[in-house]
């Protein structure tokens, strides 16, 4: 009798037999079980690697950006993961809690995407074009420079100073950007020019 049969298999308590019966009973062979038991597919497979350094602190850990798409091939590249660079002498692949989460800095919802203008007294930003932005800034700067440039001091010494417009430079930008910024600011005669090193 069927019930007896199954009871005897209960009483056998353990053994592949049971597994087989029960699995078989629910149409679930070992093969399928194996399929399901596979570990998660490796998510970096077929991504593009790019060597970079962490933008946060001055340890400047080596990192590798993993992207879908390759900029060098002219694709649009989307960063999908960031990990420490094992070849780097300083960090040897390790990263701190900031570095390890760099992907979410790159993909932060508060990344800026478009030039914005806030008019005097307004309570909101309005989107503007780059050209509008550049022309406006150039005009504002020139007008102020022309109006407040100090060419000579009381003693008649050429001082060529522009002190009514100031600039703060970003100390997370590259040296190359910094050099361009330096030429721009000092060339215009801006003296109120500093960077984070001051604080």
């Amino acid at each position: 009798m069927n019930m007896d049969l199954s009871r005897r298999s209960f009483l056998k308590l353990t053994g592949a037999g049971v597994a087989a019966t029960s699995l078989g009973a629910m149409g679930f062979g070992e093969a399928e079980a194996a399929e399901v038991a596979h570990v998660r597919p490796f998510k970096l497979t077929t991504t593009t690697e790019t060597r970079n350094t962490c933008p946060y602190c001055s340890v400047a850990c080596g990192i590798i950006l993993y992207s879908k798409g390759d900029l060098r091939k002219g694709d649009k590249a989307e960063i999908v993961h960031v990990e420490g660079d094992v070849d780097h002498p300083t960090n040897r692949g390790t990263l701190c809690p900031k570095g390890a989460a760099l992907k979410d800095f790159v993909k932060s919802p508060t990344r800026l995407k478009y030039p914005m203008l806030r008019k005097p007294g307004s309570d909101k930003f309005e989107r503007i074009s780059w050209d509008q932005a550049f022309d406006r800034i150039a005009r504002l700067m020139k007008d102020d420079r022309d109006a407040n440039f100090v060419a000579k001091n009381a003693a008649g010494v050429q001082v060529n100073r522009w002190a009514t417009t100031g600039m703060l430079a970003a100390s997370a930008t590259t040296n190359e950007t910094a050099w361009a910024t330096f030429k721009f600011a000092k060339g215009l005669g801006i003296v109120g020019f500093d960077n984070q090193a001051r604080v």
Binding site: V18, M26, G27
Partner: protein
């Protein structure tokens, strides 16, 4: 000449006798029967879904509920249904299930029960000791099961108790489940073995002879109080 209005009023009601012939006795009205079957079906579903999560070799039973996730989800809810359904029944039957002297004698002569020597036993009311045992057994185990079940109900109550408590709850839950299944088996088998019983829960009636044989006190009481419908 007119029959007594009292008698006439009782026609078809529970615990009344159809004078026949053949004599038939209404043992359960439709309400109780529906109530019983809801309880019974919940118990069976709980039994199946519970066993599926109790022993791997029965896990395939989860397929009946559309997989493990569904089984895990539905089992406790059926438990809730069972709980309420059973206790509506309980409220109606508990008085009749209070044990008395006859039950002791009956139980002491269990041999005669099994061998069917009914004539050697005392005349019984609506329920015998066995039925009372099943009644009270079910009642107490269901309370144990619902309370331990709630403790182990991860989805809603998982955070309310400590893990050691939940471990104990699960142990008790499984032991109680085993016990209630044994009682269930007894209940079902008794119903089958005692021929003529099942109709009490299907049609609601039993034959006069059944009532006379198994629950004579109950039968005589009905007859004595004239709970008999008039002849055509």
């Amino acid at each position: 000449m007119s029959a007594s209005p009292k008698v006439a009023a009782k026609i078809g009601g529970e615990d009344t006798i159809h004078r026949g012939p053949p004599v038939e006795v209404v043992r359960y009205g439709p309400g109780k029967r529906i109530n019983h079957w809801v309880t019974a079906i919940s118990l069976i579903l709980l039994l199946i879904s519970g066993l599926a999560m109790f022993h791997p070799s029965l896990f395939f039973l989860t397929e009946l509920f559309g997989g493990g996730q569904n089984t895990r989800w539905i089992h406790p809810w059926i438990g809730v249904v069972l709980f309420f359904s059973f206790f509506i029944l309980f409220a109606q039957l508990w008085k009749l299930n209070i044990p008395n002297r006859d039950d002791v004698k009956w139980a002491s002569q269990i041999g005669d029960v099994i061998n069917g020597h009914e004539e050697r036993l005392p005349e019984l009311g609506k329920y015998n000791a066995g039925q009372k045992f099943i009644f009270w057994g079910m009642a107490s185990l269901i309370i144990v099961l619902i309370s331990t079940g709630i403790i182990a109900w991860e989805q809603y109550f998982g955070h309310l108790t400590s893990i050691p408590t939940q471990r104990i709850a699960l142990l008790i839950h499984s032991l109680a489940a085993v016990a209630i299944i044994l009682i269930f088996i007894l209940h079902v088998y008794a119903a089958i073995w005692t021929r003529g019983t099942i109709s009490a829960m299907t049609r609601g009636t039993v034959t006069g002879g059944w009532a006379w044989r198994h629950h004579r006190k109950w039968f005589k009481d009905m007859a004595g109080r004239g709970k008999i419908d008039p002849a055509e």
